[in-house]
């Protein structure tokens, strides 16, 4: 801790004001979610008064229109399923690629690395056509698509850390008669656990908020939260602003709860992911 000089106090005051600026947009949306829908666009920066206050009407409205709890459920299942599958499969793949040397092995590794810089719009159309043809247009199929499309970054991060595991550990286990599958689950994966947290957090942030991929693949039958919010938009000007505000608040709440619970891991994950990325 540095002593509280005048300059430092000024910096703290400035940072405090800036923090308010950073939170303000969320607060404004929360305040507006309690106003009648026709009062929001006309006076977004005022508190609701007796004439404009609408209680939880917007929330009830929005939840009905978008089936918010259904969307929450699909978002949760898809995110947990895809993140779990990605962490399991790509950590195994990464260890394999780190240990089995050869031309084929490094070709596969470089294909994974290559996939990281390919923007989604490049494969958007063909990927959704393939998913439809193979009948992968359901939440389970989407989870497998996330494994395929998201494998690049995760394999890349895991491989970097898997290469650093001392070979002696693995040799000792082999001498003791431990096969590769058991060795992975009892020795390698526990060593990779901090990396697994990083990979899980980076993927969870992406998949939970992802709009276009789920919209194109399952959007007509299943709505995740971002799809439900976008669905409220309807035609420009004709939408229910109150329901939209309420849905924005409802979609931010789970993120804030997740953030408060795992803040330490999220920040560590971002740093670790960035250094490797």
């Amino acid at each position: 801790m540095e002593k509280l000089s005048f300059k430092n106090i000024l910096t703290i005051i400035f940072l405090a004001l800036l923090s308010l600026v950073f939170i303000a947009p969320v607060i404004i949306v929360v305040i507006n979610s309690f106003k009648g829908q026709f009062f929001i666009a006309d006076s977004p920066f005022t508190f609701p008064n007796s004439g404009t206050f609408s209680g939880f009407e917007n929330y009830i409205n929005g939840i009905e229109k978008t089936d918010f709890f259904g969307a929450f459920f699909y978002s949760l299942v898809i995110t947990i399923g895809a993140v779990g599958l990605i962490v399991l499969c790509t950590s195994m793949t990464a260890w394999y690629l780190a240990r089995v040397k050869g031309k084929l092995s490094s070709l596969i590794y470089y294909l994974f690395v290559f996939s990281m810089i390919v923007p989604f719009q490049m494969v958007m159309f063909t990927l959704s056509k393939i998913a439809n043809t193979l009948r992968f247009d359901n939440p389970l199929g989407l989870i497998l698509i996330y494994l395929g499309f998201g494998a690049g970054l995760s394999v890349f991060i895991f491989t970097g850390f898997a290469r650093a595991i001392p070979l002696e550990i693995e040799e000792a286990a082999t001498v003791d008669g431990c096969g590769p599958v058991r060795m992975f689950f009892y020795i390698i994966f526990p060593i990779l656990r901090p990396t697994a947290v990083t990979v899980a957090i980076l993927n969870a942030m992406w998949i939970w908020n992802d709009y276009l991929l789920p919209y194109l693949i399952i959007g007509s039958d299943y709505k995740t939260i971002p799809i439900a919010v976008q669905y409220l938009q309807g035609g420009y000007g004709s939408r229910d602003m109150g329901a939209l505000m309420a849905m924005l608040v409802l979609s931010i709440i789970p993120i804030i709860i997740f953030y408060l619970l795992c803040q330490k891991y999220i920040i560590k994950g971002v740093v670790a992911g960035a250094v490797k990325g």
Binding site: L18, P25, A41, T93, V123, P180, N209, M245
Partner: protein, 281 residues
């Protein structure tokens, strides 16, 4: 051991590889192929050579307009996001009171999804423009600066975290030694902190560059390209080419390939240029 691991490739390698092949390699290769054909469904593709690429640039001006808009947006965003993020990181790596709280607050917007962010800022910016009797879609400049503000709000916290990690990695002895030698705070910043945080700059400019170029959700939610297609960025323009009208799928795919090449070349060039400025302590 490694030969026995090799024999278990069907457990370790195959599941990921199959998913990766079916949902990335095949769509990618098929996409490159289809960009040289005319098609509405994949099965009726007719080879047309480079016609789609020519159409992408000459047909109507939306693609070139989106390209120009995206480049301007990326330049402004890279500069502003990294400047503010670095300044905040400097302020938050002094061990001041409340550092953890401030850091948590500044990072928070990054966790909110692009669609939600877009609508939050749409309400706010429309509210600010209200007294002037216009809204966000009145003029493309409003959409442009709206996207810049939104992107700053979203990305500053993320980049700040990476810069803080970089600054904290600098050995305190180095700074002490410079202070004893009579270096001013500005000299310490220019001669020590900046050069030694170059790896963080490489990462952060890479991330802001690629994220700015690939921006889609925020663009769709904030303006959806309005007025007209004037605030459409590349990703949104490609999306509209594919799904906006029938018969332009081939052109959309050609735009996709150009988009990919652009992002790939810029990303490699950027990493090459900033890496060359990195120094060892």
């Amino acid at each position: 051991m490694h030969s026995s691991l090799k024999k278990h490739f069907f457990i370790f390698l195959l599941p990921t590889l199959i998913a990766f092949t079916v949902f990335f390699i095949v769509p990618f290769v098929l996409g490159v192929y289809l960009s040289f054909t005319e098609f509405t469904t994949v099965s009726n593709a007719q080879f047309v050579g480079f016609q789609n690429y020519i159409d992408a640039f000459t047909g109507d001006s939306t693609f070139l307009n989106a390209l120009w808009f995206t480049v301007k947006f990326a330049v402004v965003s890279i500069i502003t996001v990294n400047l503010f993020a670095f300044l905040l990181a400097l302020a938050l790596s002094k061990g001041l009171k409340g550092t953890n709280l401030f850091r948590a607050v500044f990072f928070m917007p990054n966790l909110i999804g692009g669609i939600v962010l877009g609508y939050i800022w749409q309400v706010i910016i429309n509210g600010i423009l209200l007294p002037y009797g216009v809204d966000l879609t009145f003029n493309a400049n409003y959409g442009f600066w709206g996207l810049v503000v939104l992107t700053n709000w979203q990305m500053i916290g993320y980049m700040m975290i990476i810069y803080i990690a970089g600054i904290n990695n600098i050995s305190p002895q180095l700074i002490e030694a410079a202070k004893i030698d009579g270096a001013t705070p500005f000299q310490i910043l220019r001669k020590i902190t900046l050069p030694l945080t170059m790896p963080s700059f490489t990462i952060c400019t890479f991330l802001t560059l690629t994220n700015s170029f690939k921006l889609f959700d925020q663009n769709l939610a904030l303006t959806a390209g309005a007025p007209g297609r004037e605030t459409s960025m590349l990703a949104l323009d490609i999306y509209n080419t594919f799904y906006g009208r029938i018969g332009y799928e081939g052109v959309g795919q050609a735009k996709g390939v150009v988009f990919f090449l652009l992002v790939a070349v810029l990303a490699l060039l950027q990493v090459y240029l900033t890496r060359s400025k990195e120094v060892e302590a």
